[in-house]
């Protein structure tokens, strides 16, 4: 990240006014900054770096899977197994979970609230460095320990790895989790305490409701990870049987602990995405978001219900039938708020003054992927069908649609939506749309064939496979190349825009939330005078100004 940052600190937007990018110079002014905006940019660079790393592993895996056996990369079993573990772990813990809250949450949340910064700026910087430390620790532990357990670290397989590798790796996850807890606490306090005048809870932008709900999950779920690490360590050092059957422990207990954290974590991944899509659909439709209260409450409902469904990962584990029935039922209750959100977004678009911008294309792509991801979740929530589909490529496809669709497309949508604000410049609109379409199509070509393979019985985490599955694997790999190309294109377009793009106005889309009231890019302190909040989706007072290619407010 450093090269991008330093150049930006020195040269980038040549705006005359003082903004957060020009406010201070030099690498130190970035590394020691307490400005939430700069911390957000640092998170962005770091998490995108993690995405690229995880993505390279994904492409290597998909290339190997073109054929059964070692394939054109002449990969060994163990290399393949370590690589899919690294791919999953890096994507989940270093990209999907931290990316949106860390990057966009940090950048946008205080400005949306009309605040000068988060409640605890120093803690915020500490969270960032804790994240960096955790990331390095985690990746080192994984590589040094040759961890090949998959990102789920199931016992007893994982405790048979040499040199306590898994304890170190889970410790890494826990350090990362601590960073999440700090960020979550910071956001919760900021939202409670630093809302601008006029911003009642129900005048809060939906992105903030989503981040708020996410923060609640982070604070409540992450400690369970700590307990798990502690139990693993106690078992190893004191030989008390907890998870290890040779000591009298129960290996399935680990799965309960793991999913008690990791299922809520799925909502840490998807809720911020929901929030972004709500913003994009509202602003770019130039119409009040349909069912605002419902969307706001459903984020909270999903956050809380998300704690009660972990057992749906254990239908084939030998868990009691009664437990499975209860977990299945609660899982279905989450389906309904998710479905209604989609209908609300569509209803917002209906009879709107819709602007067919790049963010809108990403929002549409998100809806496509989330509908497919969500509906295929019904197959897995239905116990009888899950028995057949569990641990096959169907599941792999399902969670990629939900988690990658949820995070990646929402992140892109959010970046394209807020980029003019973040860097004061526009990207190329045409290439933006091309990128959105390529990512959406590439994604579907990659993962749709996996539903078919999975239903036909292809198990996941297979180094080699029966010849009958090859056609689907080839299609999936070609899709992955397209997706990879689309992602690089989309980021390149943003990066070029940040340096060379045409200057953006303060409010290029006509958003009514507070971040559009400060200049682009925002000044160091965000607002000279604390603004007053109104309905975040009432656009009546905003009219288009051709000279600046932006919208100006005429409020009496």
């Amino acid at each position: 990240m450093s090269s991008l940052d330093t150049t930006m600190g020195h040269s980038a937007p040549s705006h005359a006014e003082d903004n957060y990018l020009t406010h201070a110079h030099g690498i130190k002014s970035w590394l020691l900054t307490l400005d939430h905006k700069r911390i957000g940019v640092m998170y962005l660079c770091s998490t995108v770096g993690a995405l690229m790393l995880g993505g390279v592993f994904a492409l290597l895996l998909r290339t190997k899977l073109l054929t059964p056996g070692p394939g054109i990369l002449d990969m060994s079993h163990d290399t393949y197994n370590r690589m899919f573990t690294l791919h999953g772990a890096i994507m989940v813990f270093l990209f999907i979970i931290p990316a949106i809250p860390g990057a966009l949450g940090n950048f946008v949340l205080p400005i949306m609230l009309g605040a000068k910064d988060v409640a605890f700026p120093k803690l915020n910087l500490a969270s960032y460095y804790l994240w960096v430390f955790g990331a390095v620790f985690f990746v080192t532990a994984m590589v040094a320990g040759s961890i090949d357990t998959g990102w789920t670290f199931y016992t007893p397989y994982s405790v048979t790895t040499p040199a306590n590798g898994v304890i170190w790796a889970t410790m890494g996850v826990f350090i990362l989790g601590f960073s999440s807890i700090f960020t979550g606490l910071n956001f919760i306090v900021t939202i409670h305490k630093l809302r601008a005048e006029g911003m009642t809870w129900f005048r809060m932008p939906l992105f903030l409701w989503a981040i708020y709900s996410t923060s609640v999950i982070q604070v409540l779920a992450t400690p369970v990870l700590a307990i798990t690490v502690l139990l693993l360590t106690v078992e190893r050092t004191l030989h008390v049987g907890i998870f290890d059957p040779s000591l009298g422990g129960d290996p399935v207990l680990f799965q309960h602990f793991f999913w008690f954290y990791s299922h809520p974590a799925v909502y840490i991944m998807i809720l911020p995405g929901f929030g972004i899509i709500s913003e994009i659909v509202g602003v770019h439709s130039r119409k009040h978001v349909f069912g605002y209260r419902f969307i706001a409450f459903s984020s909270l409902a999903i956050a809380l219900l998300g704690f009660l469904v972990w057992g749906h990962h254990l239908f084939t584990s030998g868990q009691s039938a009664l437990a499975s029935v209860i977990f299945s039922a609660i899982t279905f209750t989450i389906a309904i708020p998710s479905a209604i959100k989609i209908f609300n977004w569509l209803a917002t678009m209906y009879k709107s003054s819709l602007q067919l911008t790049t963010p809108m294309w990403y929002a549409f792509g998100f809806i496509v992927l989330f509908v497919i991801g969500g509906l295929t979740g019904l197959f897995l929530a239905a116990m009888a069908v899950d028995i057949h589909l569990h641990d096959t490529y169907f599941v792999v496809a399902h969670f990629h649609y939900v988690m990658v669709g949820g995070t990646l497309l929402a992140l892109f949508g959010g970046l394209y939506h807020w980029w003019p604000k973040m860097f004061g410049r526009m990207y190329n609109e045409m290439w933006g749309k091309v990128g959105a379409v390529l990512v959406t199509i590439g994604f579907n070509v990659t993962f749709f064939p996996q539903f078919v393979m999975g239903t036909r019985g292809m198990p996941r985490r297979y180094f080699t496979y029966l010849p009958e599955f090859q056609a689907f694997h080839i299609a999936s790999t070609l899709g992955a190349y397209l997706l990879g190309f689309g992602i690089v294109l989309a980021f390149a377009n943003l990066a070029i825009g940040a340096f060379r793009g045409r200057k953006a106005s303060a409010n290029p889309w006509g958003g009514a939330t507070l971040e559009w009231e400060c200049s682009s890019p925002p000044p160091h302190d965000n607002f000279a005078v604390t603004p007053t909040a109104h309905d975040p989706y009432d656009f009546a007072h905003l009219s288009y100004d051709e000279k600046t290619d932006g919208y100006v407010a005429r409020r009496s």
């Binding site: 079993h77 199931y154 129960d250 439709s285 084939t316 295929t376 197959f379 198990p459 010849p467 009958e468």
Partner: protein, 325 residues
Amino acid sequence: MNTLAFSLLTQAVTAGSEATYWFPPQASTTAADIDWIYYFIYWISVFFTVLIIAAGLWFMIKFRSKKNAPPAAAGHNTALEVTWTVVPAILCVFIFYFGLTGYMDTHTPPADSYVVNVTGVKWAWSFTYPDGTVSDTLHVPVNRPVRLVMSSEDVIHSLFIPAFRTKQDVVPGRYTEEWFEANQVGEFDIFCTEYCGTKHSEMLSKVVVHAEGDFTKWLAQAGNIHERMSPVEAGELLVKQRGCLQCHSLDGSPATGPTWKGIWGRNEKLADGSSLTVDENYVRTSILQPQAQVVAGYGPVMPTFQGKLKDRDITAIIEYFKTLK
């Protein structure tokens, strides 16, 4: 790469006649029910996916506006909101109910089921029949409920038979169960679906469904290998069936355990520094008390076969070893 798994991988699958675009053949009594629930959800999903994508695209084209168009008026429609809450809720209740009843059917084995014991070990399955016969492929009679009582000797595995739509984790330290009633004669794939290390993807086997009467014939034959084959052939079969080849190679290549190429009469260095010549008694000890004399350079990881291989079996293996030049 080794024998059984590899031959299974390279040989085209003999899928039954009724494989469809989505599914492998329906070869068990419950498969049709599971597929029915799947298709029930499938068509609901197709309907909503098409509806939502079409509506989204249509709105994007139809309501596309100029930048200076006035913002649109907020909408509200209680009837619509109630509909799109209640309809998915009702559908979810049905899906939940079908999923539940289907699950109960596939998890309540009939009392008169034929029981086969299953052991999972990295990376092979072994199936033990009531008369003590052991095989590395699962043999079952058609039209008779079969209950698998499963356990693992090391890590968690999972026994998945796609053609029967059935799967169950095999967990160390406890027994788990899985039952089915095959209704079609033929051979179907068995996969391990819980990640279990290096050769997880080669932990494959087959279930062979025999026609009425054929199964008992097979069992009688399989049960007395020593009568129907020479000791060398019996030894060769045993080492395949009991998973020895997961750790020992025949071609001289290194593996978890020493290769068996040229094992007979070989001079072996032991971990304690002594050395000896491989003879009948050494092989016998190696199989029954593997930890007693550990070969230098290898870990003490070989499981004991005490009680699992009889004297006659070991004699056969010894005869087989003599042929491995």
